[in-house]
């Protein structure tokens, strides 16, 4: 299987910072893989995702997305990716649909027309389909500033999926969403992934969302602590000197791993 994300010795040190936020990390993600990038607050997740999505320059190292270098071929990389940012990046004064239209036009999905009704039928159908999935069909014409935080998040999800990207970066995508919306969102993302082989790069603090991913990488203090499939991570945890045990969930494994001192890892 081809590698769609390749990160080699990536270092990022912010201007004026005493030490790097990301300290020479390396990992790769296969095409079509569902990949979770986990870690505590300030571990370097968002910095890494910002570099991978061409939003932040790296200090050193090599990053390639779909074979393209994120700095030399930034435009080609942007063609291939979609992203839901950690912080909302909507225009609060435009309507929900106008925000989607803006995005679709910038990604070359269709020509711009001044009203929703004048937009091409394929666009209107796609917006309606996505809005129904996340339950926003009744608020598309409302200004974003009048939507709740959860609704704004759903809108960002629609926006990130409208151009059907090859690699979808989700930086804590379900933050602020209710359980029903979370479930319907994951169903849709799963379906998109299965249908079109979309690679998903997820960061989240809801570890249960990463339970069924293909691979997990844990970053801590700017360094990759471990990369493995969730089942392997759960099995690999053992309490010394007791024999290996299998923890019930990825969250247990994650917490045990970050706590560190009582757990031995057998990777």
């Amino acid at each position: 299987m081809s590698k769609v994300i390749e990160v080699n010795n990536l270092v990022k040190q912010y201007k004026g910072a005493k030490e790097p936020s990301v300290k020479g990390i390396s990992f790769s993600v296969n095409s079509g893989e569902f990949f979770a990038f986990l870690g505590p607050n300030g571990a370097g997740k968002t910095t890494t995702i910002s570099i991978l999505t061409t939003m932040l320059s790296k200090t050193s190292g090599e990053v390639r997305i779909a074979g393209f270098d994120v700095e030399k071929d930034a435009r080609q990389v942007r063609e291939k990716i979609g992203i839901i940012f950690q912080q909302p990046s909507l225009d609060p004064n435009l309507s929900a649909e106008e925000n989607i239209r803006f995005h679709a036009c910038l990604y070359g999905m269709c020509a711009y027309y001044p009203t929703f009704r004048l937009m091409p039928a394929a666009y209107r159908k796609k917006v309606a389909e996505l809005a129904e999935i996340v339950g926003l069909q009744d608020v598309l014409s409302k200004p974003v500033k009048k939507l709740s935080g959860g609704m704004q998040r759903k809108l960002e999800i629609i926006r990130s999926l409208i151009h059907t990207p090859d690699v979808l970066f989700l930086d804590e995508p379900t933050q602020g969403l209710d359980a029903v919306s979370r479930r319907s969102l994951w169903e849709y993302i799963d379906e998109t992934r299965k249908h079109y082989g979309t690679t998903i790069f997820l960061t989240t603090h809801y570890i249960d969302e990463a339970e069924h991913v293909d691979n997990v990488c844990i970053i801590n203090n700017g360094e990759i602590a471990v990369c493995a499939p969730p089942e392997e991570m759960k099995r690999a945890v053992s309490f010394d000197p007791a024999p290996k045990i299998c923890l019930p969930s990825l969250e247990d494994a994650y917490v045990e791993f970050l706590n560190g001192d009582t757990v031995a890892w057998g990777f």
């Binding site: 939003m55 320059s57 435009r75 909302p88 909507l90 036009c105 020509a111 409208i162």
Partner: protein, 272 residues
């Protein structure tokens, strides 16, 4: 659950033109959604043209050998375009504050298309200000023929692009909207006087003359007055440079400012 895929348009030219149109349309939409901005665009000429210009016309233009009213109206039309475009461009800093810039900058389009789209969107508000200037002029008994007005309108995209490009230099390096508003105002107001919008600068020398030569508005104003006064006996008293020199100066200053401003803007987002 179905997953519909839309085909992307692959033409690079289409993509960039569509981006310019989309970014422009967003600013126009926002202007119509904010009646306060529209009212400000209309009210600003009342202060600039009506109060400052009116007082100058009544008290300080006795010895001039040309029609000061017409001189000032053309100057104010161009100055309003420049100032309003510059001030409207600060919405880019607001986009930075609301993180909407991320949405624009992560998209696979040229940064120049985004900036040109912003300038054209900002220009729409400036054209509203232009209408306000004409209304105030009319109230003061100063009019322009339809032909002359059309000539200025034909040149207005060039003036707006020039003003917007100049503002980008400031906006590219400032991260707070409050600071950006003040900086643009501090930069736009002196231009109005140094470039000769309401006060002739034919006899300026020393530092003031040097400063005026570095300001694109100087050449925009002179070009506008050149096309409006072509063939009139007042031409030599009003116009300073050959129109081709004006055009060349505007083109060079605009391109330099646009490239530098866009570079600063994109860099400030990425190089942290």
């Amino acid at each position: 659950m179905g997953v519909l895929i839309m085909e992307r348009k692959n033409s690079r030219v289409f993509r960039e033109l569509n981006t310019i149109l989309t970014v422009t349309a967003r600013d126009v939409t926002l202007l119509f959604k904010s009646p306060g901005s529209l009212i400000t665009s209309l009210a600003m000429p009342l202060m600039m043209m009506g109060m400052i210009g009116g007082n100058l016309m009544q008290n300080m233009t006795g010895g001039l050998n040309f029609d000061f009213g017409s001189f000032m109206l053309v100057g104010m039309l161009v100055a309003m375009l420049f100032m309003t475009v510059s001030m409207n461009m600060t919405s880019l800093v607001e986009d930075r504050e609301t993180d909407f810039n991320q949405e624009m900058l992560v998209s696979p389009v040229s940064r120049y298309s985004i900036v040109v789209g912003k300038i054209l969107g900002a220009s729409f508000g400036a054209l509203v200000g232009m209408v306000g200037t004409l209304i105030v002029g009319l109230m003061m008994g100063i009019t322009l023929s339809a032909g002359k007005l059309l000539l200025i309108l034909a040149l207005s995209p060039l003036f707006c692009l020039s003003g917007g490009a100049m503002a980008m230099i400031i906006i590219g390096v400032i991260k707070s909207r409050r600071t950006a508003n003040m900086a643009v105002m501090l930069f736009a107001m002196p231009q109005m006087f140094l470039s000769g919008a309401i006060i002739p600068i034919n006899h300026s020398d020393g530092v003031l003359m040097v400063l005026s030569r570095f300001m694109p508005m100087t050449y925009c104003l002179d070009l506008a007055r050149a096309v409006v006064n072509t063939g009139s006996p007042e031409y030599d008293s009003i116009v300073m440079f050959n129109p081709m020199i004006n055009l060349a100066a505007i083109a060079i200053l605009t391109i330099v400012c646009l490239i530098a401003g866009t570079y600063f803007f994109a860099r400030s987002e990425k190089n942290r």
